[in-house]
């Protein structure tokens, strides 16, 4: 076989049969001769530097689920499914990862967003709720976290402040929330208006449950504020009224933590005018996306995306009226 043919590459019964005839290596090996399978993924953390800051992407996991009918509100479902399939997601399904960022500024250990909470690990059969075990694998003691900084108050970003037993998962941390999101979700008037929308009703109830009894421990921050050393809050509203991104700067190095400027990039960074079901003000969210990515592309800025595939870091490029995410190369050293 000296020609590379389709059959060579793609195998199938024909090739296996032909190969079996070639020699003794194809004979079945004794069962159980090989090492047992490990059955376990590598720990989901990744380290990188931004100037003198040591940063760690720490994933809370990923969910793969049948694409809901209105996952993309303003395009036909078939078109959204085609985009997911073109990105090699399983047919009919969508995969959404969830990845907080941990920034060690040298003086503060800052966790930006905190996942669904370890209580979701069992319920999701290990798919999500991985943050605490991945932090442990990374050698991070939750007691050493100084600040938990929320980009907005959706459950996948905020519920992880509670351990499974309801206690504080990061007992020594200041909890910082965007003032505008806090005002929105804590408004009785807004909550009353949301009762006719099951998704929004759930979100309002969730915020109240998660923050019940700890309202006084929460620091509200404003856009433009340096919320921790070198970490500045940026207005990227639309996804939620107080949705916030962060500029991290150390020396001449920069990182943009986009939070949910998009949901999964395969659909919503590629197609910035597509409206994900979870955007509260989809028109504003789309405007924010264009502004954010136009600037990031022009500056070749490194971006961390909560819903980007782990390690959730990349560069954005303009591609006509669309954008393309170029994931970072994994560096085996830091």
């Amino acid at each position: 076989m000296t020609e590379l043919t389709r059959r060579d590459l793609l195998g199938g019964a024909g090739m296996a049969g032909a190969a079996l005839a070639l020699g003794p290596l194809a004979a079945p090996a004794p069962a159980g001769a090989a090492a047992p399978p490990a059955g376990k993924q590598a720990p989901g953390f990744y380290r990188y530097k931004v100037g003198s800051f040591e940063c760690t992407s720490v994933t809370d996991g990923a969910r793969t689920f049948p694409m809901p009918d209105m996952f993309v509100r303003n395009v036909p479902k078939a078109e959204a499914l085609a985009a997911a399939e073109a990105a090699h997601m399983p047919k009919g399904m969508v995969t959404v990862p969830f990845t907080p960022q941990l920034i060690n500024t040298g003086s503060k250990l800052v966790l930006i967003d905190c996942g669904f909470g370890a209580g979701m690990f069992e319920q999701s059969k290990g798919a999500i709720g991985q943050l605490m075990s991945n932090l442990a694998a990374a050698g991070i003691d939750p007691k050493s976290v100084d600040v938990v900084l929320m980009s907005h108050l959706h459950p996948d970003h905020t519920n992880g402040i509670r351990a499974a037993d309801g206690s504080m998962a990061f007992p020594n941390a200041e909890i910082m929330v965007p003032a505008k999101d806090w005002a929105f979700w804590m408004s009785e008037e807004n909550a009353a208006k949301a009762q006719s929308n099951e998704m929004m009703k759930g979100y309002f109830a969730n915020v109240r449950k998660v923050y019940a009894g700890i309202e006084n421990r929460v620091t509200r921050y404003e856009w433009g504020q340096e919320v921790a050393p070198g970490i500045t809050a940026i207005d990227t509203h639309g996804h939620t009224p107080g949705h916030t991104s962060f500029a991290v700067q150390s020396g001449s190095s920069k990182l943009l933590i986009q939070s949910d400027v998009t949901n999964i990039p395969e659909l919503f960074l590629r197609n910035p005018d597509w409206h994900v079901a979870y955007d509260i003000d989809p028109q504003e969210a789309a405007k924010t996306r264009h502004r954010f990515y136009d600037m990031a592309a022009a500056e070749k800025a490194l971006i961390a995306g909560f819903h980007f595939s782990f390690p959730s870091l990349g560069y954005v490029e303009k591609d006509g009226s669309k954008y393309r995410l170029q994931p970072v190369r994994w560096s085996p050293v830091i």
Copy 2:
């Protein structure tokens, strides 16, 4: 600050100054208040399934070095550097990762290529020679490896069969090499002809050194042969005369291990007619690339690439006369 501006996103002294004026959070925190930096990357292994086979990408590391003048033989250096820079490599530099694949077929534990050898770890300041420590992190005992399968006999693929002290790194493994590569590198006539070319001279000397005294332990395999259960050798010559890729099949699931059909995809998968310095027959190597990627793109085949960024798995798409690599999404579970 309610408008997202370039200054918001990209920071700089102006913004930091403005933010400092906003409140007490910007005051310097006490030195040493945060947890100490870890200073260490996560272990470089990644698990995935191909049918019932448990596969593990295990990286040997990556080298970043000034791009040599003839790194791409048939385009001006400025063009090659521009492609590297467009892929966000450091200016003037090129980054090349090295990632063997470990396949547990259930009956055999097969390591495909084995890196530079742990002896290179110190010399490279930890950049390469990581395979053994990453295997250990993945819970793999080198004694449990049944087969070490070489795609070809370049040092980054083959030298890792030797431990730093010269003993066998995988003492119980059968060592399998492509018959055509073995014949090429072991030929005295070829070695004599190579003496005028420093790179080739070094390669010939290396093969002889690495295999000295273990020639009888080496099994030579042919293209088309099922070299281990479900793993079939494919002719992808050009990079070297015996350069081999592998089709891994379990049930209806398939994986193509391309080995060095390209060097780094940012340059040579994107531009399949570019000739990397290390291709022995660059015309044949380019033909192989087109055939391999045309088929892989048509079939949407999962590909592992030795020089792809860790976890070194992706899908290839046609893009006019070029190709584009779409890395897999990291799955936090297997």
